[in-house]
């Protein structure tokens, strides 16, 4: 990190802020991992636990807020220190959103566990795997103040978007084949969308980390690859297994 300050407690307070963010990140990671495990195992009870666990993340977000405000008011930080505080505030907000999406996945899992198993669930889990890796790497990048690692995370988002598009088509095909599957497929569509949003937030965190380390916003525009909103089902439906 930056060089030490004369006021030692200032460093301690910044460190404390980092620790709370790391802890919050750990919670968000665990919430996502558990909601997906519940989805794959069709375990409604486990999903209910995940949905209830969201409160902890919210509490930590408030803690980050009060720590950050305290730092801003008492120390009036500038330059890199100011960026640390601002990044922490922003990242905690994004992590809280990731927690919310995990909670929504868990809630839909409770409903899905009452319905017959769906084949595309495994693809959703794979997609979640990519996002889990992104979240882990971006948190590691934040802790290590590693802008290159954060940039790698940003590049990874294309993969999630492509998976989302592919899943969207697959689920649409299922719904067209069998109208009884529409409810379950709709839940899975939303689950996939939630995961895709978590990927976007991981990307946003990566941008914050880049800004935090380099003091400027990342240059290149992110590659966008999500065309699911443009997908029109025509006569040649892709063959599905």
């Amino acid at each position: 990190m930056a060089q030490d300050h004369i006021v030692k407690s200032f460093d301690e307070e910044l460190e404390k802020l980092n620790n709370v963010i790391a802890q919050m990140g750990g919670l968000a990671e665990a919430q996502l991992a558990e909601s997906i495990e519940a989805l794959v195992r069709r375990d409604g009870d486990m999903a209910a636990l995940v949905a209830a666990g969201d409160k902890q993340i919210d509490a930590l977000e408030r803690k980050v807020e009060s720590l950050a405000v305290r730092l801003l008011v008492l120390r009036q930080p500038v330059a890199a220190d100011l960026r640390s505080v601002l990044a922490a505030l922003k990242i905690s907000g994004l992590l809280e959103r990731i927690g919310d999406y995990a909670k929504n996945v868990a809630k839909r899992t409770i409903a899905l566990s009452q319905m017959p198993p769906m084949e595309p669930t495994h693809t959703v889990a794979r997609m979640a795997g990519v996002v889990q890796e992104m979240i882990k790497n971006v948190l590691d990048a934040y802790i290590a103040r590693d802008a290159e690692k954060a940039d790698d995370v940003r590049r990874r988002d294309v993969e999630v978007d492509a998976l989302n598009t592919s899943l969207f088509r697959e689920l649409l095909t299922y719904m067209m084949e069998d109208s009884k599957k529409i409810t379950a497929c709709t839940h899975l569509l939303f689950v996939a969308k939630n995961i895709e949003r978590m990927g976007d937030h991981a990307t946003n965190i990566a941008e914050s980390v880049h800004y935090l380390v380099r003091g400027e916003n990342p240059e290149d525009e992110r590659l966008k690859n999500d065309t699911s909103s443009l997908t029109v089902m025509d006569d040649n439906i892709p063959e599905q297994e």
Binding site: A30, T123, E148, R155, A162, T227
Partner: protein
């Protein structure tokens, strides 16, 4: 010894406390043999840690924890102390939840620079933190189970045990993570194997049964139909046998996926051998396999057999899906940093000139039994598992697989592998 993760016991390299090291080895043996209660083993471990602490406090005389840390880091790849020789991650935590010491296994698994910072900076799983916090707040001990899904799913039994020591700087908690990956996931992998096998083997089997029935019935005396059917039956039977082979090798990789192989492998020789093995197949399609490897390419850390399977599968695909008469290129270069992990490594690209792969299929290619064009995959003899095997082997090596493709032009499959550690340095 199957539950002990893949580090060899370097009892010979422990310069002191040979008796204690002996006890550690014996203990690991007993635990893995299931003969000893994990809690009893924990008590023994506490004894070992006490021995380490003595050693540690002696070293602290030289300076602060920072000094001790750099001394430890320089010896990272050779376990010098009993503490470092323990196969499970062991972490000593002070009263402010700061990491005071971490053994080799913990530093490798979580963060080489974890000593000195809050535990959350290196190991932020909420269950672990809540166990440690509970013990810091006065509970004598706490146990739990966690799963770490990234990069390779691993599960651990967490033991946090309180230490009573009046000195303010002394560690307050011993955190031990006992690797349960094999035990927890073996069951799941067996279930997956059976589910996959029964689903995918059913179709060739059904074809065989159908043809046998036809041959015994209506086509009994039709010589032309008989020959034709026998050809189809042969290819279906061959497909089944390839499928079983691939399923078995996939399972073999998965079982050991959490154990990272570290043997130095010379990719130059390996890639040339792969090209040679497949040259006949390439010639049949009027294709050429070109290998370009710089002489200075460093060795990578890995398992030679598995790596040769990776490149065999990739080159085999390139030959199958490349245009007839085009060339397949294998190119290896040394790179400064592997994307995401950020460590030094080698990138090997396998390039074909074929039809290319539409973007929405790319992230799904490594899914088992995912096929873009089912009929085509079948006609070239694919099992739908080749890239899944590649992905799992690359994962096991903590490497990366990247796929780039332009429709109408061709595809590039790039494998990133970590450079082998030279002995004595890290």
């Amino acid at each position: 010894m199957e539950t002990v993760p893949g580090r060899t016991w370097a009892a010979g390299t422990v310069p002191h406390a040979v008796a204690t090291a002996g006890a550690a080895v014996a203990m690991a043996g007993l635990v893995s043999g299931g003969l000893m209660d994990p809690l009893a083993s924990l008590a023994l471990l506490a004894l070992l840690v006490a021995g380490y602490l003595w050693d540690w406090s002696a070293r602290r005389v030289a300076g602060t924890a920072g000094g001790a840390r750099s001394a430890e880091e320089s010896s990272a790849s050779v376990p010098l102390t009993v503490f470092d020789a323990l196969p499970d991650p062991v972490i000593l935590i002070g009263k402010g939840r700061e990491v005071q010491a971490a053994n080799l296994s913990a530093r490798e698994l979580f963060d080489p620079k974890m000593v000195g910072a809050d535990l959350a900076m290196s190991l932020r799983h909420p269950e672990v933190l809540s166990c440690v916090d509970a013990v810091l707040n006065g509970q004598p001990a706490k146990r739990s189970q966690i799963a770490l899904p990234v990069p390779v799913r691993r599960s651990f039994e967490v033991h946090a045990v309180g230490l009573a020591d009046a000195k303010t700087a002394a560690p307050r908690v011993v955190l031990v993570l006992h690797d349960m990956t094999l035990a927890t996931h073996a069951q799941q992998m067996r279930a997956d194997f059976i589910a996959n096998a029964s689903h995918e083997l059913r179709s060739p089997l059904a074809a065989l049964v159908g043809f046998i029935e036809t041959l015994k019935g209506p086509a009994r005396d039709d010589a032309a139909a008989r020959d034709h059917f026998l050809d189809i039956m042969q290819s279906e039977a061959e497909r089944m046998s390839r499928l079983i082979g691939d399923l078995l090798s996939l399972t073999r990789v998965e079982v050991n996926e959490h154990v990272q192989p570290r043997e130095p492998v010379d990719l130059g020789t390996l890639l040339c051998t792969v090209a040679e093995v497949l040259s006949g197949q390439a010639r049949a399609r009027n294709m050429e396999i070109r290998v370009s490897v710089p002489e200075t390419l460093p060795a990578v850390a890995g398992d030679a057999d598995q790596l040769s399977q990776v490149f065999q599968n990739l080159v085999d695909n390139a030959v199958k899906y490349g245009r007839e008469g085009s060339a397949v290129e294998i190119e290896a270069i040394e790179i400064e940093r592997i994307p995401e992990s950020g460590v030094r490594g080698v990138a090997v690209a396998v390039r074909d000139r074929g039809e290319g792969i539409p973007a929405e299929h790319i992230p799904r290619l490594t899914e088992r039994f995912y096929r873009i064009d089912k009929a085509r995959s079948r006609s070239v003899g694919g099992t739908g598992l080749g890239l899944a095997i590649v992905k799992h082997i690359v994962n096991r090596h903590r490497g990366r697989l990247k796929v780039d493709s332009v429709v109408g032009r061709g595809s590039v499959f790039t494998v990133y592998l970590r450079t082998a550690q030279r002995s004595g340095s890290k």
